[in-house]
Symmetry: C2
Subunit: 275 residues, 2 copies
């Protein structure tokens, strides 16, 4: 699936047959088994992303495949034909039947990782993992707050937090299709507390949420921006870190100056590509 110009993915993306590319001496040829579609991939096709591939480009930044050919210089201890791999770098053009990758760009999988999990573990799950580890030293019983809880990263945050013994407070929008199904799905993933955006906008909503928490929130994760980011700051305690990894609302974040100065609120951005 390639595109020759940036723009609406629906009109720009074309299914194209391409001749088999010659394999470099340090490269492996990977037959793709599955590839994820992340919001960042869409933004990249739109030309609205921080990193842009040279055009024409093949879409897709992550996925899982099987090595079907290896160049003569490829170290068999690193990668061999028949192994399943994911990619350690972005802009691989994973929305393709075959991908050429340097031997230092592939990560060989255990046999017991499913194709489904492998196809989307490098971006969303890694983003979730790093955000839960790089900014605040979380202890079991600590609390992480996030908006966009239904996103792929949000679901990964719920599960990783659960495995760490960390309580997750998950904010979602009330007006969404199949709210009941979504809520029970997030609960089944391990979501401890569910809240709606409106809950964070009233004193009573905030009071009820705080009553469910036995300690202050020191880490909040934001992929929405705009009013939703402001809402998150209402529920955090002193010296909390708000980590922004997305801005799905396409609106800038409004930030209370007093909150920053007197409550020592800190703001960071997280970009998997830079990590």
């Amino acid at each position: 699936l390639s595109y020759a110009e940036f723009g609406d993915p629906v009109t720009q993306l074309r299914f194209e047959e391409a001749a088999e590319a010659p394999l470099g001496r340090d490269q492996v040829r990977v037959r793709m088994l599955a590839a994820a579609i992340n919001p960042a991939d869409i933004n990249q096709v739109q030309g609205r992303y921080a990193s842009q591939p040279p055009l024409p480009a093949v879409g897709g930044n992550e996925g899982v495949g099987e090595i079907v050919e290896a160049g003569p210089n490829v170290d068999p201890a690193v990668a061999r034909v028949g192994q399943r791999v994911v990619f350690g770098t972005s802009q691989m053009g994973t929305w393709s039947e075959f991908v050429l990758a340097g031997q230092d760009q592939v990560l060989v999988l255990d046999d017991d990782t499913s194709v489904e999990h492998a196809s989307c573990m490098m971006v969303s799950a890694c983003t979730a993992y790093r955000m839960l580890h790089d900014f605040v030293q979380l202890q079991p019983g600590d609390i992480v707050l996030q908006n966009g809880a239904t996103s792929a990263v949000g679901r990964a945050v719920i599960q990783i937090a659960k495995s760490m013994g960390v309580t997750s407070v998950n904010v979602l929008r009330r007006e969404r299709p199949d709210l009941e199904g979504t809520v029970s799905e997030l609960r089944s993933l391990g979501a401890d507390v569910l809240a709606f955006e409106e809950d964070l906008e009233t004193r009573e909503g905030l009071r009820q949420l705080r009553a469910q928490l036995d300690r202050p929130v020191h880490l909040a994760l934001n992929c929405v921006g705009g009013k939703s980011a402001t809402n998150l700051t209402r529920l955090v305690g002193q010296r909390a870190s708000l980590v922004t990894y997305g801005g799905m609302s396409l609106r800038p974040t409004q930030l209370s100056t007093a909150k920053m100065i007197f409550e020592d609120l800190r703001l960071f951005g997280y970009w998997m590509t830079r990590w």
Copy 2:
């Protein structure tokens, strides 16, 4: 100068005579020589500050005075009658003829510190010093960017940056009384680059400013908030820290999500009282 209720300083502050308070065994009595009036002092009288004294209260959080009496438990190695002192804690009620202070609340001055400098060195100058040291490791030749350059903190930043060999880029409003006099005064303090808010709002203004700088800006200091804080973020480089220590515009800061994620912009608050 005391106040019985929070509100407009002009109407709430009253000049009052009070009986001499009894001196505690661990206390010194300080005859005030000079006391500063900081924006935070005004906000405190207005009842709009994060920390509020019990009412009625005497205004003023910093100043310099001479010890005229010492309780029997005061260690002469720490404080003696005749010494000039400033205060290491806030809410001392320095807008007064005499102040009682614990021996651990006073800092004895060198003889060669003038009363004028001593009266206002604990809040503004210390804020400037700490902000230049606590967030980014500045090297000679590095650049610090600030708005509110004409404030007491702003002037201290200019001078301390100069002494560190750090270039200061100073943003002020064009529409202000005696612009010419202000500009030449800031230059005489050591301001390297002067810029107007409007310069940061146009491509051409930004281009001209960047042309004057030989490296990216990694530290920006904000005491205004609102649009001015957004303006500062336009001129900073990758992984810059924006430190907010005031919000004179009384407006929240609007923050670009992309700037945070892709350029790793970090935001911190600074509050001298917490340091």
